[in-house]
């Protein structure tokens, strides 16, 4: 039975009318999660009414929705204020230039607080930078470990030692090193960004290294024999045979690493005070207004949703490079 997808409809418009079997399947796919979500919302609403904290009642779904709209409105207001600020400066500059065409005028940047949406953006940039840099290190390292038994034996104890270390333990060390080493009058990146990024890197490196190494060492003997008979030079062997053959396990590692990176980032931002979602949650907590818990709950849901989107993106990427038609990618 062909699945009722957008592509199947566009290829064959006559199939727009779904069969009862397809309708039933679609219905199940939509209704069952809806039922679970409704049940969850119901339980949440009732449980929230029962919990009274020092910051007010635990936020229920309604309050969280209200806070999320507030956050969006605040962001829009802040953007408008920024536009007005720049416009005012331009008017003043025009007046100055009218009086004295030689005058040195500039537009000063807006120094308002970053809004929730800005912070989401910062978090995303930080996590992607950390993850990409980690992958650039982890994949070659994994390939090297997988190819050479001696390298594996040498490096394995170190990997096992550093893999379980929590980001909160790395943070003080990373902060001190960055403060000492990253000194510049006009830094391109803020220290907190570098600190968060490096902490993410140190924690999300390991799944990619391990899975890549496993993938490389499990390349079929037949393919290795082909490479030997052809006397392929080392780099050709790695890029044309090893990498494509170990791509599935490499992607497993990358997906795991990205998931860990996102989790680590929120913790790192909280302590490094990097202006992202982690800092938002921390500030709201320190703030202690009656809105705080609701806003924190919004942050929790947004963090979860973004994590889900990141994973889906990796899955999409994996599907687009996968050559193995028999593999089921979820």
């Amino acid at each position: 039975m062909k699945a009722l997808t957008l592509s199947s409809i566009s290829q064959n418009p006559g199939r727009l009318k779904p069969t009862p079997a397809q309708l039933a399947k679609l219905g199940r796919a939509v209704l069952l999660p809806l039922i679970a979500i409704s049940l969850f919302l119901f339980l949440w609403y009732n449980a929230a009414k029962l919990i009274d904290t020092s910051l007010g009642q635990f936020p229920g779904p309604a309050e969280v929705w209200e806070q999320s709209t507030n956050l969006v409105t605040e962001h829009q207001q802040e953007r408008q204020r920024e536009v007005a600020f720049v416009a005012r400066q331009e008017v003043r500059n025009a007046q100055i230039l009218a009086r004295n065409p030689e005058a040195d005028v500039q537009i000063r940047p807006y120094t308002g607080k970053p809004t929730f949406i800005d912070q989401v953006g910062t978090s995303l940039i930080t996590v992607l930078s950390g993850f990409l840099l980690a992958s650039l290190i982890a994949i070659p390292l994994g390939i090297l470990i997988g190819l050479n038994e001696s390298v594996y034996t040498a490096v394995n104890p170190l990997i096992q030692l550093f893999k379980p270390v929590s980001p909160l333990a790395w943070l003080p060390l990373v902060t001190m090193v960055v403060s000492a080493v990253y000194v510049s009058d006009d830094p391109a990146f803020s220290k907190s960004f570098i600190t968060s990024m490096l902490t993410v890197l140190l924690c999300c490196l390991w799944p990619t290294v391990i899975n890549t190494a496993v993938g490389v060492s499990n390349v079929s003997k037949d393919l290795l024999n082909v490479s030997q008979v052809l006397r392929l030079p080392v780099l050709t062997h790695v890029f044309k045979i090893i990498v494509p053959a170990s791509l599935p396990l490499m992607f497993t590692g990358l997906r795991l690493s990205l998931g860990i990176a996102w989790m680590v980032l929120i913790a790192a931002e909280m302590l490094a005070q990097s202006p992202g979602l982690g800092k938002f949650v921390w500030d709201e907590f320190q703030n202690g207004s009656s809105n705080s818990l609701g806003r924190i709950m919004v942050a929790v849901l947004v963090i979860g949703f973004i994590g889900f989107l990141l994973d889906r993106s990796m899955l999409f990427l994996q599907r687009s490079v996968s050559w193995d038609k028999s593999a089921v990618l979820r």
Binding site: N225, V226, V229, L230, R231, L232, K240, K325, S326
Partner: protein, 285 residues
């Protein structure tokens, strides 16, 4: 001239937990250029090991292999291998699989247009020119094996080594591929060593059949010269007395090995085996 490819006192020991395991013992074989030699024997007698040593994928513990009077102990495209499991790269198309070999062997020697022509020519030899852009998971087992053969031929090898190339295929496909192989051999005149389990295949295709004794310490038991004219047509040969005689010889060798030691010791079939290996066979039973 019988000295194109020479196996001289080839023996190999594999290290095991119980000490070295001698898989092959003093294998001596001379092969002339353009000869088609089949290697036949029971499972586990070391046929693949012999082939791997000639290919350079294993190193002999004693003795060596000489190709055109030069020793070979490393793999190389001049001894191209057709593997039992086609070993095509699953992420490349048929064309690209052959291209990988051609680019490696003829880099700097052929222009891009010449390479393309050469690749298509080799795929035509195996009748796969219609499936250039298909991936291995889109073609059948027989077609995959054909592409494997095309890849090996495209390396213009001095010796073509085939490890039970048709073992995984059904009888009809096997028949087609055997005919293709005979055509190619007649056309190119290349030297071929083929491992097979199939007695009919061995008699149909080969100039000589090398029959190996059982492992461990396997060696060459008997060599049969197949004096049938080429081109050989299987349907005509089915009734030919000489064909049946050769089949009988091979079957007798293979199945007499299963019988009791005393009979093997007195049988004239073992006259070419060294006396020490007969004694070892006696200990086996």
């Amino acid at each position: 001239m019988k000295n194109y490819l020479q196996l001289s006192q080839v023996s190999i020991d594999f290290p095991t937990a119980n000490g070295p395991f001698r898989a092959l013992d003093k294998v001596n074989l001379d092969i002339a250029q353009g000869e088609f030699v089949s290697l036949i024997g029971h499972s586990g007698c070391g046929k693949s090991t012999v082939l791997n040593i000639v290919a350079g994928l294993h190193q002999a513990t004693e003795g060596g292999v000489l190709l055109e009077d030069r020793e070979v102990n490393a793999p190389g495209p001049e001894r191209a291998v057709v593997f039992q499991n086609h070993s095509l790269l699953p992420w490349l198309t048929a064309y690209e699989n052959v291209e990988l070999a051609v680019k490696r062997v003829f880099k700097g020697q052929k222009s891009r247009a010449e390479m393309k022509e050469w690749i298509i020519h080799n795929l035509q030899l195996v009748h796969m020119e219609h499936a250039l852009d298909k991936r291995p998971d889109e073609i059948s087992g027989g077609m995959k094996q054909r592409v494997g053969i095309a890849r090996a031929l495209a390396m213009e090898p001095k010796v073509l080594l085939m490890d039970e190339p048709f073992g995984a295929l059904d009888a009809l496909t096997r028949a087609h591929l055997q005919d293709s192989l005979m055509e190619i051999h007649a056309d190119l005149g290349n030297t071929v060593i083929m491992i097979t389990h199939d007695v009919d295949e061995a008699v149909l295709l080969s100039d000589r059949i090398v029959m190996m004794t059982n492992g461990p310490s396997a060696t060459i038991g008997e060599i049969l010269q197949v004096d049938l004219e080429r081109p050989r047509k299987r349907v005509e040969l089915a009734g030919d007395a000489r064909y049946n005689h050769f089949r009988h010889e091979v079957l007798t060798f293979l199945y007499e090995r299963q019988r009791k030691v005393e009979e093997i010791g007195t049988s004239k079939k073992s006259r070419e085996a060294p006396s020490t290996s007969t004694a070892r066979l006696a200990n086996q039973a």
